[in-house]
C-alpha cells in the first residue's frame, strides 16, 4: 500500500494570512495523481485541488495552490488570504493507474482560522 503522511495534526492561521499544509508520500511509480480534500465540520468532503505527477506546473485554484516537489515526494497546500470558511479538516490523497481506482489518504490536518 502507498503511504501518505501529513505530519501536522493541527494548524492555525490568522484570518487573511497565508498557511501551508504539508504532505509527503512514498511511491516508486512515475505516473500518479495527488489530491487535497477539505472536510468542513459536519459537512461533506470536497475536492480542493489536484495535481498530475507528470505536470511540472503547480496547480492553482483561486486562493489555493500547491507546491509539488516530485523528487522530494512532497505535495503541500498553500491557502492564501485565509477565510473563516477555510476552517476544516484537510486530507492529502494519492492515486495511480497501478492502484486501480483506490485512493490512499493521509491522516489529516485540522485547520483553525482565527478571526
Amino acid at each position: 500500500a502507498q503511504t501518505v503522511t501529513q505530519s501536522q495534526p493541527e494548524m492555525s492561521v490568522q484570518e487573511a494570512e497565508t498557511v501551508t499544509l504539508s504532505c509527503t508520500y512514498d511511491t516508486s511509480e512515475s505516473d500518479y495523481y495527488l489530491f487535497w480534500y477539505k472536510q468542513p465540520p459536519s459537512r461533506q468532503m470536497i475536492l480542493v485541488i489536484r495535481q498530475e505527477a507528470y505536470k511540472q506546473q503547480n496547480a492553482t485554484e483561486n486562493r489555493f495552490s500547491v507546491n509539488f516537489q516530485k523528487a522530494a515526494k512532497s505535495f503541500s497546500l498553500k491557502i492564501s488570504d485565509s477565510q473563516l470558511g477555510d476552517a476544516a479538516m484537510y486530507f492529502c490523497a494519492y492515486s495511480s493507474p497501478y492502484t486501480g481506482n483506490q485512493f490512499y489518504f493521509g491522516t489529516g490536518t485540522s485547520l483553525t482560522v482565527i478571526p
Binding site: 500500500a1 501518505v4 501529513q6 495534526p9 500518479y32 495523481y33 489530491f35 480534500y37 459537512r43 461533506q44 468532503m45 470536497i46 475536492l47 489536484r50 498530475e52 486530507f91 492515486s95 495511480s96 493507474p97 492502484t99 486501480g100 481506482n101 483506490q102 485512493f103 489518504f105 493521509g106 491522516t107 489529516g108
Partner: protein, 114 residues
C-alpha cells in the same frame, strides 16, 4: 448537481446487531467506495465496487461485507456489530477510468455501537 447520499447521519446500535449502511449516488458512477474515518488514522478503505455485483476488499475488510445490486446503490453490512466498529463511515463514488477521477463523498454516518 452531483450527489451522494447516505441513509443515516447518526446511528446507535447494540453489540451483536446486524447493521446496514446505505449509500446512493445519482451520477451514474461505476465506482463506489466505503471508508472508515477515525481520528489520527485518516480514511481507510473497507471495500469498493467497480460494477454491479462486483466487490473488492480494501485495507480493512474484516468484520464487514458489502452488496451492490444496483449501479446507484452500495450497502455496507456489519454482520455482528462490535464496539470497535464505532466510527464515522463515508461513502464515495467516482467514474471508472483514470486514477485522476475525483471521488465524490457522502455526508457520512456516525455509528456508535454500545
Amino acid at each position: 448537481d452531483v450527489k451522494v447520499t447516505q441513509s443515516s447521519r447518526y446511528l446507535v446500535k447494540r453489540t451483536g446487531e446486524k447493521v446496514f449502511l446505505e449509500c446512493v449516488q445519482d451520477m451514474d458512477h461505476e465506482n463506489m467506495f466505503w471508508y472508515r474515518q477515525d481520528p489520527g488514522l485518516g480514511l481507510r478503505l473497507i471495500y469498493f465496487s467497480y460494477d454491479v455485483k462486483m466487490k473488492e476488499k480494501g485495507d480493512i475488510p474484516e468484520g464487514y461485507s458489502v452488496s451492490r445490486e444496483k449501479k446507484e446503490r452500495f450497502s455496507l453490512i456489519l454482520e455482528s456489530a462490535s464496539t470497535n466498529q464505532t466510527s464515522m463511515y463515508l461513502c464515495a463514488s467516482s467514474l471508472l477510468g483514470t486514477a485522476y477521477n475525483e471521488q465524490f463523498f457522502g455526508p457520512g454516518t456516525r455509528l456508535t455501537v454500545l
